[in-house]
Amino acid sequence: MENLNSLNNIESYLTNKMSAAERKFFEAQLAKDPLLQNEINFHKDVIEGLQDYRKKELKERLNNIEVKGGNSYTGIKVAASVALATLIGLSSYYFTVIYNKEVASPQSYITPETKKEVSQEKSSNSLNSLNETNSILTPSETKVIRKEVAKPQKETSNVSAHIPIFNAPDVKEHFAEDDEQISHEEIIEASQGNITKAETPKLSSVEIKIEESKSNQLQYQHYNNKLFLYGDFNSKPYEILELNSHKESKLYIYFEEKYFALKPNQIKIANLEEIKNAKLIESLKMLRDK
């Protein structure tokens, strides 16, 4: 180290880029050189100034990110809360699908008051102790989506719709603009209280595509993050039901007074299987009635 005062040395020292030996040597010099000490202090201040500046900048950036869902504290409570109650709020959404274009306003949506009531119900601990069967019956969160198709689409074979979430959007031109809704969803998902939950696949942001099918068989598949439904879904109303337990989210579809399970890992086209389990039907029914 020929020149101890060189900017490079000072920088390596201050940014911890010296080897242990270099550092030791440098510090020994530093101890007997007040000028070098001054210089070090100067650069330390400058570097700290730059770091503070950047930290503030990043914090401001985060501060400007709007975390969706209105009053987040209320939101947290909702998410933390368990039990059927959540069903009420997130229910009933009606919209009309016409060529991907017009979505009518939903008729009911959750208000902050409802959320608060909901939140008093239960702690997540009790949920964790529930076994699989029970968790189907007492989902931590549930959404009911209803769709009513105004008129049959003959020439369309591709109608897509997002599962609506939470707050009601105004009338929109394109579903593609529904980002907002998706982020509501993510927030709920992420705030389940226990960390492992955060990685649950976000079924609710699944896009739905309807393909009119020639056969009378009702079929479905998950492909490319989209849920494809094959059958006469355009002319009759169907509902996608989502049951979120602490373990996983499950999707069901209600169509022509029957309930069907939509397995999340169904990649190939498969027939819709009607649900026979009476308990499950009961809870899905409750969901729909809310």
């Binding site: 100034g49 950047r54 914090k59 947290i76 998410a79 992420a190 960390i195 492992t196």
Partner: protein, 179 residues
């Protein structure tokens, strides 16, 4: 985005990954702090600090993730909040903490430094903050700033730093710090 993707992006200094992480874990972290006697504003503040800690840690050279990112973030949040609670408790008990009697010279020096940083050109400021705070490599800085290569970034960084030092020193002399 998967944890590994987020980490890759953060390593390159991509702030959008930070935004993503922020939104994704917001409720969980804020809830944890609110449950532990924090206000929502405090929670938000601590959570943001925790994210910035993660941001810097990931960019450190020897970073390896041993748990899920959200778990890691959660523990940092907890630690920061514990510290903050301790700090608050200390403050209500002791009246004046001796180490906190403020060094007026130092305060003035910091003001000068901050002013000079503010006055710097955008490019210089970005290079220097990316280098000193984000720990980005010269390669990453070059990429982020659209420079030809790492050498260009290195030269620019050196010049910018010298300029800044010079400016600060001249103002120091003006206000008579350096004898």
């Amino acid at each position: 985005m998967k944890d590994s993707e987020i980490i890759e992006k953060i390593k390159k200094g991509d702030e959008t990954a930070l935004d993503f992480l922020y939104k994704k874990n917001y409720k969980m972290m804020v809830k944890m702090i609110v449950k532990n006697n924090g206000s929502e504003d405090e929670a938000k503040d601590v959570y943001q600090d925790a994210l910035i800690v993660i941001w810097q840690k990931i960019q450190g050279h020897d970073f390896t993730l041993t748990s899920k990112l959200s778990t890691f973030l959660y523990s940092i949040c907890q630690n920061l909040w514990r510290k903050e609670l301790e700090r608050k408790a200390r403050h209500s008990n002791e009246e004046v903490n001796k180490s906190e009697i403020f060094d007026i010279d130092k305060k003035e020096r910091i003001e000068i430094i901050n002013k000079c940083i503010d006055d710097m050109g955008d490019t210089c400021r970005k290079i220097l903050t990316y280098y000193y705070f984000d720990n980005l490599s010269m390669n990453d800085i070059a990429e982020k700033m659209g420079f030809a290569n790492a050498d260009t970034a290195k030269t620019k960084k050196y010049k910018c730093k010298q300029e800044l030092d010079k400016k600060i020193k001249s103002l120091y002399t003006a206000s008579d710090f350096l004898d």
